[in-house]
Amino acid sequence: MRSTQVIGIRKYVVYFLFIFLSGLLSAVDYFSNKTLSNFIPEQVNLISNFQIPDRLLQNEFSSLSSSRADLVAENIRLKEELSNLRVLYVENQELQDNIESYDLLIKNISDFELTYYATSLILKNSTDEYLISGGRNYNFEPGDLVINETGYVVGYLGEVFNDYSILESFNSTNFNFRALDENNNIFEINSNGKELIFSSLESTLNSKVGMLYSDITFGHINKFPLFDLESYEQTKLNNKLIVTVPIDEMLTFQSKLFIPKNK
């Protein structure tokens, strides 16, 4: 009985050793300020390597039997043309979408001294953080603002790798942001996943709070609108104004995102 129990525990020994090794790696990573966890992503261009080659999209395999009878050849040529046209159609649609989103962005922003890099969603990780395209290859840095096509802030870059970055969006566990209202009152914004909690840092707020903006005083690149709090219930707690706003919009693959950078 005792020996079977020992055998039962023994089979986990290797697993426990590797769990201990993982813990050790976490400790080293913690004390080395994440040098260890950034080492692999710095060596590999992960996203660029996963792109589907254009050749596959153009479906060149259909031209293998082109040496057959003229009719078959013609048929294949037409098929090829059709697939090329389809690729062009998709490209055209994407370009039209981009033009539309840029048009919308141009209408909504006031600062044309900045370069707006278009970025897109790649995937969402287990902790609801979004991986977006573009990283150090576009000189992105942690803390860079991410705005949508209407010019509103949707988050900031948490970590930046070679060709992708991790976006801390409103429903991210690590989301922490500071913004100013029109009267230069400072607000701290945190997320509980379903709601954004805006809390004022000053205790002398009397009037209702309206629009909040990012600001260069917090290291942001410029003033971009974040949220209009006017329509939400504003409560005073310990002389501080607290506003809770439900997070309605989630980012999707269709979301058009931009990262403003200095030219």
């Binding site: 039962g8 089979k11 986990y12 290797v14 697993y15 426990f16 590797f18 769990i19 090794l21 993982s22 813990g23 050790l24 790696l25 976490s26 080293v28 990573d29 913690y30 994440k34 260890l36 966890s37 950034n38 080492f39 692999i40 992503p41 992960l46 969603l121 995937l123 969402k124 990780n125 287990s126 902790t127 609801d128 953080e129 991986l131 948490g158 970590e159 790798f161 991790i166 566990t173 690590n174 509980n192 996943g193 379903k194 989630m250 999707t252 693959f253």
Partner: protein, 150 residues
């Protein structure tokens, strides 16, 4: 040959992990379809083997490096703990659907621990229970499909 086998399993597991993340980015429901978690529980309950520790470790390291903002090794240890826990539960108790569902509930709780610790209960509790039902169904179906009829 052994090295190639370990690398192949690691790549396969990492692809599953990637697929799970893609799938959960596409679906915008309140629950998640955790294909990779299911595969880890399947390894723990059906294929438990000391030779699988390195592929699981490597998958965890790759996930921690590329997709996580937490410290290297956190998800690696979570993955390993899930395999050990699921094996321990099915070794200690009878193999029934109730036990499998309990295993999935506990494993999901550990799998989602970074979110659970950060966010309030009302953020994840509904999704958690729905995910248990959905993923248990997938697991039981997968088990039946892969069952060897001798």
């Amino acid at each position: 040959m052994k090295v190639i086998r370990q690398i192949s399993i690691s790549t396969f597991l990492f692809m599953l992990c990637l697929f799970e993340n893609y799938l959960n980015t596409f679906i915008s429901f309140d629950f998640g379809v955790y294909v990779f978690l299911i595969s880890l529980i399947y390894i723990g309950t059906e294929l438990f083997n000391q030779n699988l520790v390195i592929p699981i470790f490597l998958t965890g390291i790759m996930y921690d490096s590329f997709f996580s903002t937490y410290y290297l090794g956190l998800y690696t240890s979570i993955f390993l703990v899930l395999v050990v826990l699921s094996n321990f539960i099915v070794s200690s108790y009878s193999r029934s659907n109730v036990i499998y569902t309990t295993t999935i509930s506990l494993c999901l709780l550990i799998y989602k621990i970074p979110i659970i610790l950060e966010f309030d209960l009302d953020y994840w509790i509904t999704g958690y229970f729905t995910s248990i039902i959905v993923n248990s169904l997938i697991f039981v179906t997968l088990k039946r499909a892969l069952r060897k009829n001798v």
